[in-house]
Symmetry: C2
Subunit: 214 residues, 2 copies
């Protein structure tokens, strides 16, 4: 492997990790805004989503010019392809965090999440946050040994979502239809953030090992 390629790979993945860190903060802040009905924090997450989009555009341009400057070899192409797809995933993750914040804003000064689901959402956010942090570490260390850990966390996320559905449809729901709709959509947003983290890890496996993402 050419040294310059290795250096470039590290740089590209470190750039992506910076973006993952912005997503991690957005997710944590959106969750706090949601669970504590914190309007200024919700507004902040929503307005800062633009920064994530701008960073994605900057990184796409940089990847593009890196490729245009030299005739890339197969490994470099793989990196570039994967980086482009990861940028797409990360942009969506930022959007999803902003969607969580928008529901918090929409229901303010009420709490969007009913008392009996606060704990469920706290756990969902913890698992999603941990998955995003794992993805960041993997990108920085170019170490994919923990890819299996993300898959296990995603299973926990799916279980939390099922718990949530059971609470919604077991016939004991005393909250409004509106709260049920918010819960279903919020659950979907957290689950999708987790899915994107898994997809980033799978893409990184492909970059580092050349194995097709499964």
């Amino acid at each position: 492997m050419r040294d310059t390629y290795r250096a470039q790979l590290r740089e590209t993945m470190a750039d992506l990790a910076r973006m993952v860190d912005l997503v991690h903060t957005a997710l944590a802040d959106a969750t706090t805004a949601l669970l504590t009905a914190d309007l200024p924090l919700a507004e902040q997450v929503i307005s800062k989503d633009r920064l994530i989009d701008e960073l994605a555009e900057e990184l796409e341009r940089r990847t593009f010019s890196m490729l245009a400057r030299q005739a890339p070899v197969a490994g470099e192409l793989r990196t570039v392809f994967s980086a482009i797809r990861m940028l797409g995933e990360l942009t969506r993750m930022g959007d999803l965090a902003a969607h969580v914040a928008k529901i918090a804003r929409l229901r303010f000064p009420e709490h969007a999440v009913p008392d009996n689901l606060q704990d469920n959402f706290r756990k969902m956010a913890e698992v999603a946050g941990s998955m995003v942090a794992d993805a960041s570490t993997m990108l920085r260390d170019l170490n994919v040994d923990t890819a299996g850990h993300l898959a296990a966390e995603d299973t926990v996320m799916d279980e939390l979502r099922r718990d949530q559905f059971r609470t919604l449809v077991d016939g004991t729901w005393t909250h409004s239809v509106e709260a049920a709709v918010d819960t279903a959509l919020l659950g979907r947003y957290y689950e999708r953030i987790a899915d994107h983290a898994v997809e980033i890890a799978e893409r990184l496996v492909y970059v580092v090992t050349g194995d097709d993402p499964v």
Copy 2:
């Protein structure tokens, strides 16, 4: 513009259009399965989603080897980058059509969509289907004059989703919480399919004109 590049661009975009057509069929069938509680059709949409994923993988490999064979010029790189992103959008659109079919399957022999929202969902599916068909035509003709039409259709989609929310939360909802949750998620799936169609059109504007997607 080099002739070979022009030919390659046409070929790549025509390949993408084939994938759009598969998504169009999946969406139409999923909607029929949903609105008529047709279990075999729902199963068919779900199992055929694998074909869309496989075509995406094949097209990604082909794009990859096209790039590896020759030193690409800027316009070619733009095409390849955009094709990779569009493949991601289309794979998700296929997944979303399958999600619609899965809700139809889950509620069979019941209808997932209550009577008073059947018309709303029929319109949503019509608008989404028309947007997907527009994207296919644009990709085949490399003509982006109709990109504005997609944006207008997306506005109609947003209005239909707002109508749906009003029906859910205006205090007259007599159906189950489960039906409300299904409605919210189904509405989200159709809206996301429409969003992806808009993103494909914007990417194509970038490919054809070099203008940044807005």
